[in-house]
Symmetry: C2
Subunit: 271 residues, 2 copies
């Protein structure tokens, strides 16, 4: 039965596990199949063409898992390839940009919103275009923070250097006086404490994973696809590489240990 | 004629351009074909199996360019896949580990050597095994510095945060009292000034690219493969992705602008 199929979630690596965590807390009964393209991570510094190719391959792998909905838990792919994915696959597809942009628009009172993300997400102006479409009177300032992903993956969530790098990246947001900051990369919630400290406690941080999890719930309701089960859903995890420190990092991102993970060859899915 | 064929050089990304620069200064008449696997960079945090697969594909691409010798300008691949490459291809193959280890052994007077590299290079103990095979009385201390590659690629070569991160990574080397430090990753020469400052001016830094360039010269002499030309050699550049900031970074690593670069599909070379 359609309703009892799993939700598919993919990301360039393990960052999307922060989104799985959010979806599971909103929709604990749903089964989830996750794919992380750890053999080719990161996507955020690569070209649009390459990101589109990789995103299509990732989605294709999950389609073979017979999913009822697809969550693109990667801001970079969401910002570039969502239309291609929607035109290719005939199930509800939820990206990270629309939900995060909408939540930011709703939260901002002084109409000054900041967005941080990978080089690719920011240079595509994915969030600012969407936020301004919601409300053209909003002012949006965006900045790429390429070192945040490696800092999160190094586990330096409270390190002095992390604070200093955050101060450099986020300085301009303070000058502009934003009241809302979109964490436009699934790795960034890991550094939320540092980011909150640097921008000040009055700035509302928007976790695009939480926004996306809300959208997943809405979409499943809309298409009458919510599971009828009462038991806690199953989660299964696939990756294209099992690198060093994988279990340790996956636990940091997912918030609990991963017992089993399967490695697959994503390049065999080309085309 | 065999002698007039180009030297092939590959790396996971653009870091290997620092090695091209060194080879060109030792052997200015030689033609060089470079391949950087920028679509799948970085390798240093991935598993050995994945690194071997990628290294074989990269080498295969260059073999199709009819090269007379192959330089594995990537410490990670050199530390894991050099034997597989040597058994597969019948031309001189020069990695980064042997030359760097030999140069370090020759330089150290107090017999305490430090090595820094990617997580993969360090966990495979590539340098320490080789250095101790040269001289078992040498003491080798190794440490992975995963943030150095993204810092180099962000161009933060003199940033306060870079100094602080270097201080954290390199603290132990000072306590041990090394007199020689191997820069076991082709990105690290970009950060040489910071590294030298932090470890102190009495510590000799070994640039594995310089060591490898010397070895390339020796190998070509040994097999009578040095070009007879007098003109400056041609250099051609291939990559699997042309990401943002590519030209800017390539210039930083190569030391001069790259006029032309061709993008190829490395995944089509599987097998």
């Amino acid at each position: 039965m359609e309703k009892e199929k799993p939700i598919g979630v993919f990301d360039s690596g393990i960052g999307g596990l922060t989104v799985v965590k959010r979806i599971a807390s909103y929709l604990p009964q749903e089964d989830i199949v996750y794919f992380g393209d750890t053999a080719r991570v990161p996507y955020g510094s690569k070209s649009n063409d390459t990101i589109i190719d990789y995103g299509l391959q990732d989605a294709k792998f999950l389609m073979h898992k017979n999913i009822k909905a697809l969550v693109v838990a990667c801001n970079t792919v969401s910002s570039i390839a969502l239309d291609q994915l929607k035109s290719r696959f005939d199930i509800p597809i939820i990206g990270m940009i629309d939900p995060g942009a909408r939540m930011a628009s709703l939260h901002s009172k002084n109409k000054k919103i900041g967005v941080i993300g990978t080089r690719s997400t920011i240079s595509n102006q994915a969030y600012s275009k969407k936020i301004k479409r919601n409300d053209p009177s909003l002012y949006v300032f965006e900045r790429a923070c390429p070192l945040f992903v490696p800092l999160a993956e190094e586990g330096w969530t409270k390190h002095k250097a992390t604070y200093e790098i955050a101060e450099e990246y986020l300085l301009e947001f303070g000058k502009i006086g934003i009241d809302t900051l979109v964490l436009g990369c699934t790795h960034y919630p890991i550094l939320a404490e540092v980011i909150q400290y640097v921008v000040g406690k009055d700035v509302k941080l928007i976790d695009s994973g939480i926004a996306a999890a809300e959208s997943v719930k809405e979409e499943l309701e809309r298409y009458n696809l919510l599971t009828n089960k009462f038991a806690i859903g199953n989660q299964s995890f696939f990756v294209s590489d099992i690198p060093m420190k994988f279990k340790e990092l996956a636990e940091l991102f997912l918030g609990r240990p991963i017992s089993e993970v399967q490695k697959i060859d994503v390049e065999s899915l080309t085309g």
